[in-house]
Symmetry: C2
Subunit: 425 residues, 2 copies
C-alpha cells in the first residue's frame, strides 16, 4: 500500500535530485555533461551525497559507476538494481538519464521513510558514458560494470577532445587497466526508468509503460560523398558529380525502402542526424564536391539491420553508377544488437501498477539504453518508459515528474507486494 | 599580322600579371581576395604599376574600379574596354577574374611593343567586387562604374565581416556617397576574357570561344527548413518532421524537374552549394529539426527563372503538406537578369581569330559576369571564354596561359585588322 506520505517522499526526492543534477552543466541552451567529464563526476557525487544521507552503502566500480546499496531481507538473492546514467548529449534535456537515477533514489527514500526492508538488496546504480555521441561505442559505462570492456574500447577517442577513453578515465581518477580486468559481477535484476524519447505515450495520454525490447543500431558516423567541385552555372547537368544531389538520391531511396519495410511489418527507423556540406570551401556559386553525413539505422530485428546494410550498399553502388564521378565512403560501422527485455520483471512491475489502478502498455524502445547491455550480460533487465514530449536529446525535452512518480509508486507497490521476483534467465 | 615577338609579349605579360596578382592572397589552399579588401586593393595597385610601366594613363572611379587608358586614333569614338575583376571567392582559383585583367594588359603591352596605335582608345579596366559570395549583390563594382549603385547596395553586409559595403569602401579610401552619385559614363565597348567555368571547351579540345549570352540567376542564399527535433530511435516514421528528409524531397523533385526542362529544350542549372545540418545541436542520435541551405537556379531565359520560382514554391507547399511539422523559410531572394551579349563584337573578335586559323564556337555562359552588367547598361559587351578544367571557384581550377594568349592574339588581330567596331546598340 502506497500512502500519501510515501508518494510525497517519492515526488520530493525526484524533484530534488533532478534539480541538483541539472545544476551541473556546461553553458546552455539545455544540459551538457560529457561522458567521463568533470561534470559527470560531480553529478555522481550528488548521488553519493543523496544516497549516504539515506544511509545507503556507496561504492564505485573500476569503471567509475556508482552503486548505493540498501540491505534486503534475503541478502543472498540477486539484488534489485534501479538506475540509469547522468551524462547527456550536447545541449540535451533535463530528464534523459537523470530521471532513471532519480527513480532509484526515490524508491530507496520511500522505503527508508516507511522503515521498510526490501525483499532483496536494492541497489541504486548510476552508470557512466551512456551517450555514445562522445565516445562512439555503445554502453561503455555499463559494460565496464559488467566486465565487458575491451582494450579497443579504451582507445576510442572522445569526439570533442580527441583524447582516448583511457585518458579520460585516468583524468577522473580511475584505472583503465583495472576496468579492463574487472570480473563480471553475478547477474541480478536491473530496472531502468527513462523518458520514452517518442510521442506514443503522450499521444495516448498514458503516464508510463513497460518496455519489452530495445532496438539495435547500425551506424556510420563519418560517411563521406566525394564528387567534383564546379561552377554552379557552368557545369552541364550530365557532367556534374554533385555530392548534394547524390546524398538526396540516397535519402529518398532509403525513405522509400523504410516505408516498404514498415508496410511489410518490419521494425525500422532511419535517421541522418548530421549533414555537412557547409565547409569554408562550400559556396552558393559552387557545385559541391564534398558532403559528410552520418546515418543511424535501428530495428528490433538484427536480420533487418543486416539486410539494410546490404540495401544501403546496393543503393550506393547504384548512385555511383548513375552519377559518374561520385564516390561514397561509408567509413567505420558501429553496431549495437537488439535486446529483448525481461517479460517476467516487466510483469512484476505491471502487477504493482495494477494494484494502483494503472494499466501500463508494453512497448518497444527505439533508443539504445544500458538496460540492453545488462540484458546482453544475462541480467534480468527491463525498462519503464515515462511519457515525454517536445523531443528528447534537446533542450525542450519535456517530462512531468508526476508521471515518473507514478511509475516509481508502481515499482514501490511491487516491492512491497510480496510477489517473488522472476528467476534469473 | 601577329608576329612571333608579339605573341611573346602577350604570353610574358599574362604570366607576369598572373604571378604578381596571385602572390596577394590570404593563406591557402587556393587564392582568397575578398571584395573591397586590402588584398583586392593591393592587386589593383599591381595593375596600376603594370599599366604605368606601359605609359597608360591610370585613373580610378568613385567605386574604386581602375581604368588604364591607351590613346587611340579616333579619340571621340567609344573606347574599347578590356578587363575583369581581381577579387576571388574563398579558396578560389588562379584564373577567375585575373585572366581577364591579364588579357587587357597583354593586348596593351603588345600594341606598345609594336608601336601600334589602336583605332579607338583602349582601356584596361579592373572592376571591384564581382564575386557576390562576399557582398550578396550582383556586379557591385561594375555597377558602381556604370552609375548604377543604389543606396540599398551600400547597406549590404559582407558575409565574413558583417560590415556594410559603405563601410568597406570607406576603409579602402573610397567615398560611398560619391559612388552613389556617379554619373553613368558614355556607353562603349567591353570585352571580358574569362575561364569557361565548365568542361565544354576542354572536352572539345578548343582553346577559346565567343560567349553569346550570360545566364541569369535566381537565388535564395539563406533558406531554412524547420522541423521537430526527436530521438532517432524513438520517433515513429509517420510522426517525424525530419528536416533532412524534407530537404532530400526538394532536391530530388527539382532534379527531376531540371531533367524534364532540359529535355524540353529549356536552359536551366540547379545547385545547392551549401547544406548545413551540422550545428552543435545536430547529432547522430537525433532526428534533425533544422537545416539551412542555399539554392542557385540559373537560366538564359528569364521566363524559365520565373517559372522555376513558382515550381519551387509549389514543391515546398507539397512537401509541407506531406510532412506535417515541416516548414520551409526561403528567406530573401536575389536575382540577376539573363544578358544577351553583343553578336557584332563577338563576330569582330571571331574575324581576328579566323585570320589566325582559329574557329571559336559561340556558347553560353553559365556564370554571371561583369559583362552582363555592362550589357544591361547599354554597352556593346561580349566575353571570350578560355578552356578550363578541374572546376572553377576552387584551388584546382585549371587554365593554360597559352590558351589565353591565343584568345588575346585573336583580339590583337581584330584590333589591327582595320575592321570597324560595331555600332553602339
Amino acid at each position: 500500500m502506497t500512502t500519501q506520505s510515501t508518494e510525497q517522499v517519492i515526488r520530493e526526492t525526484i524533484d530534488r535530485v533532478l534539480t541538483r543534477v541539472n545544476a551541473l552543466s556546461e553553458p546552455g541552451p539545455g544540459y551538457t555533461r560529457p561522458s567521463y567529464s568533470d561534470l559527470e563526476t560531480l553529478a555522481h557525487a550528488v548521488i553519493r551525497d543523496e544516497a549516504e544521507a539515506l544511509g545507503l552503502a556507496v561504492t564505485t566500480d573500476a569503471a567509475g559507476n556508482l552503486l548505493a546499496r540498501m540491505e534486503g531481507q534475503d541478502r543472498s538473492a540477486p539484488a534489485l538494481h534501479v538506475g540509469s546514467h547522468l551524462d547527456t548529449v550536447g545541449q540535451g534535456g533535463a530528464y534523459d538519464g537523470q530521471a532513471g537515477v532519480a527513480a532509484g533514489l526515490a524508491l530507496a527514500a520511500a522505503l527508508k521513510a516507511e522503515g521498510q526492508v526490501p525483499p532483496v538488496d536494492l541497489v541504486v546504480i548510476v552508470t557512466r558514458a551512456e551517450e555514445s555521441v562522445w565516445f562512439p561505442a555503445s554502453y561503455l559505462g555499463s559494460r565496464g560494470h559488467l566486465g565487458r570492456l575491451t582494450r579497443a574500447d579504451l582507445e576510442v577517442a572522445r569526439a570533442d577532445t580527441g583524447r582516448t577513453l583511457a585518458d579520460h578515465m585516468t583524468a577522473q581518477g580511475l584505472d583503465p587497466e583495472a576496468a579492463l580486468q574487472a570480473a563480471p559481477p553475478r547477474p541480478a535484476h536491473f530496472i531502468e526508468f527513462h523518458i520514452e524519447q517518442g510521442p506514443v505515450l503522450d499521444q495516448a495520454q498514458e503516464p508510463f509503460a513497460i518496455v519489452r525490447g530495445v532496438r539495435g543500431g547500425l551506424r556510420y558516423r563519418n560517411a563521406q560523398i566525394h564528387g567534383t567541385w564546379a561552377h554552379s552555372g557552368g557545369a552541364p547537368r550530365d557532367q556534374r558529380a554533385d555530392a548534394v544531389f547524390a546524398f538526396a538520391d540516397l535519402v529518398t531511396a532509403l525513405d522509400a525502402e523504410w516505408g516498404r519495410r514498415l508496410d511489410a511489418g518490419e521494425d525500422l527507423a532511419v535517421t541522418f542526424g548530421r549533414v555537412d556540406a557547409a565547409s569554408p570551401v562550400h559556396a552558393m556559386a559552387k557545385v559541391p564536391g564534398e558532403l559528410e553525413f552520418c546515418i543511424d539505422i535501428r530495428s528490433e530485428d538484427d536480420a533487418v539491420l543486416d539486410a539494410m546494410d546490404g540495401v544501403l550498399k546496393d543503393m550506393i553502388a547504384g548512385i555511383e553508377t548513375a552519377r559518374p564521378g561520385i564516390r561514397f565512403e561509408l567509413g567505420a560501422q558501429s553496431r549495437s544488437r537488439p535486446a529483448a527485455l525481461s517479460a517476467g520483471l516487466g510483469d512484476w512491475i505491471a502487477e504493482g501498477a495494477t494494484a494502483r489502478g494503472e494499466a501500463p502498455r508494453r512497448m518497444l524502445s527505439g533508443g539504445g539504453h544500458d538496460a540492453a547491455a545488462f540484458a546482453a550480460a544475462g541480467w534480468d533487465s527491463v525498462m519503464v518508459f515515462i511519457r515525454n514530449w517536445d523531443g528528447s536529446h534537446c533542450p525542450e525535452e519535456g517530462m512531468d515528474p508526476a508521471d515518473l512518480a507514478r511509475g516509481v509508486a508502481a515499482l514501490h507497490a511491487a516491492v512491497l507486494s510480496g510477489a517473488a521476483l522472476p528467476e534469473m534467465p
